[in-house]
Symmetry: none
């Protein structure tokens, strides 16, 4: 029996409300060459401090020590889906990232426009990094292909030279055990798609026809006279939050990637205004209707990626200032954390454990009186993997029965 | 190679003495609405404090974060048996809980008296919650069935409408992959027993005959004119402490459940007087005869279940006051902890990590100078799962060789 099975076998319903507030990329580090405090340490956060005094704190590994997660695995872990067992394909993440609503058997691929010469040899895998506007126009041209062998072709432009293709089949099963057609180097021809089982072989043939037809249509569009497919993936079969935890769940998130992941897990997408106040207000407005709220704040990650210490501090302070809106309608269980760290000095996601705060009538209270990385080192939750957080939230909500007699 | 295999491959004997003192349900939490200190924090414990100053401390998850264990999994973890892999069936725990000594191939079932109508439909699954006395009388009636198809039937009454049936076969193998005969709702007939393999099919037929004969005998005993079986389980095949660790082990525990678990693991049951002093004195009396002593104190859990903060404090203070009896005959390795937490504010087992204290010449000494939950957050043992405790005890006793060259 493993962890998720214990949860499954002990889960029960009650009327409790749970809020998981995720400040994306929240974790940070002190750096000898940069700042001697982390943004959380530096920020003026009277409301978070007050809450910390009544809560239990700790640090969470997004995956395992040393592993830096993308947003997919980072969030899957937070929702208690072992990110090592539940892998969401790149094509699906890309489709989600542009706010495309995938249906049950859809297969999605990341695509980029490329340049080939007369011998069909790739001379530029990114077609000279054409602009988003040009890509949009080219996608319209490609979209004149609507269907191949009964498989619907849906094309959505992305940033720069990137776009996403979704394959949707109503009649015949399609599979996604298909190689990339991008050889990943220049000087070679695009690869033919090959499927590893019957439904994948069928879709591979459709993809080969799609490339042939598409290249024909793009002939005059040099340098973008070709395109390549990568990360071909089916919508994963993952149990929903409602199946897994008997929770009616809702997401308050404004960015497509996070809305997409929430929607994959069966959460209802609630209105998500741009302001942090607005996010908390949405929770208040819908508090009675759902059991579990995932509130996502993007600013902390953005600031980290930009290496902008001041912006990260400011975003944290805005959250702190708006927090009373949420605290005035205190859920039974509240957790505040990140999906991973994004240290300003690194300007990227990182492997550092996140600070985490957990408050409920039964969370216990430790001696930590501020919410920041190093304070959390001494907390009553210790260090743990984020895939256990959801179990802690459910346990605090008294939604888990005893295991064994 | 997994953890238990490493222990197996490095274990050796020596003359060291190990004591594991378990204060049942010891762990607790500070609660904003209840007490601002935990019972361990609040208690006056000069001897424990003194010991903490010379020891290494930490916190132990009974299973994994968020999981609340029953006494079975809680104790299995303490003895280094992975509670996710070694599951003791409910019927067996029930038999253990009434102090019944199971033999190697016994199968046990939890039973309850019930009421059926003339169409054999269950109208009350608990027969109007008849008294323990009536249940005892009814069990005597049922026990006139001594044997069916060569399988001995042993009936032991429990509390209220509950009893345990043990099936013992000397000739033919019996299995326990058998469904409950209790449909778990009223308005349905009792279910027939069905076995999933040959030895289980054989016992299922015996059970069906037992029910038929039994109902016949109970006919005139309305409302208790029927009974239902649940949690049908075989005595688990678990290696004994002696096989696993080469330890001569003894249990000093007065409650049936804990004596039962100890006995399942092959420990010798020593006299266990009601007083805590008495428990420690038993250890002193038998110190020369055994390598490993499991001393079980029930009062802390009882107080927690009753929500009785003062009692829990008092029980801890009594342990502290009696501790010199044990300390004057200091074992080579001493650990003090719980099998799970039972916070007074929750009046039930909980998922919170237990405080743990470990003392030996080689335990190391950290900066923690008191034995309570939040102090232990900062200890030199960190946070770990209780299934690793036994390895730590053996290592401190120098009973484990180096792993690998």
């Amino acid at each position: 029996m493993h962890y998720e099975e214990i949860i499954q076998s002990t889960i029960k319903k009650n009327n409790s409300k749970i809020v998981l507030l995720v400040l994306d990329g929240l974790g940070d580090i002190r750096s000898p060459k940069f700042y001697s405090k982390t943004p959380l340490e530096y920020a003026h956060t009277p409301n978070l401090d007050q809450l910390a005094k009544k809560s239990v704190l700790g640090r969470m590994y997004p995956i395992l020590p040393g592993i830096t997660p993308g947003s997919g695995p980072g969030h899957l872990g937070l929702f208690g889906y072992d990110p090592l067992k539940n892998v969401i394909g790149r094509g699906v993440l890309e489709a989600i990232g542009i706010d495309f609503s995938l249906q049950a058997h859809d297969v999605a691929a990341r695509c980029n426009f490329a340049t080939i010469n007369e011998e069909s040899i790739i001379t530029d895998r990114r077609a000279g990094r054409i602009s988003t506007e040009i890509t949009q126009k080219l996608c319209e041209i490609l979209q004149t292909i609507k269907e191949i062998d009964g498989v619907e072709i849906i094309i959505k432009s992305g940033k720069g030279h990137r776009f996403v293709t979704i394959f949707r089949s109503k009649q015949k099963e399609i599979g996604s055990l298909i190689n990339d057609t991008d050889p990943l180097v220049e000087g070679k021809a695009p690869l033919l798609a090959n499927g590893k089982n019957t439904p994948s072989q069928f879709l591979a043939q459709v993809i080969n026809k799609f490339m042939k037809k598409g290249y024909e249509l793009l002939k005059e569009q040099f340098p973008a006279n070709a395109f390549l497919l990568r990360g071909i993936a089916s919508k994963p079969k993952i149990p929903s939050i409602s199946e897994k935890y008997l929770l009616e769940s809702a997401a308050i998130a404004s960015y497509p990637m996070y809305r997409g992941i929430a929607s994959l897990l069966g959460m209802t997408l609630l209105p998500a205004p741009d302001s942090i106040e607005g996010l908390f207000q949405t929770y208040v407005n819908y508090k009675q209707k759902y059991d579990f709220f995932f509130i996502h704040v993007k600013g902390t990650d953005q600031a980290g990626e930009d290496g902008d210490f001041d912006s990260k501090v400011k975003c944290i302070e805005t959250v702190d200032k708006s927090l009373p809106i949420l605290l005035d309608h205190m859920p039974d269980v509240l957790a505040i954390t990140g999906d991973h760290s994004t240290p300003c000095v690194m300007r990227s996601h990182s492997f550092h454990p996140m600070p985490v705060l957990l408050h409920s009538d039964f969370s216990g209270i430790d001696d930590v009186d501020r919410f920041h990385e190093n304070a959390c080192n001494l907390g009553g939750l210790g260090f743990f993997e984020s895939r256990y957080l959801m179990g802690l939230l459910l346990a605090n909500a008294k939604r888990l029965d005893k295991f064994g007699a």
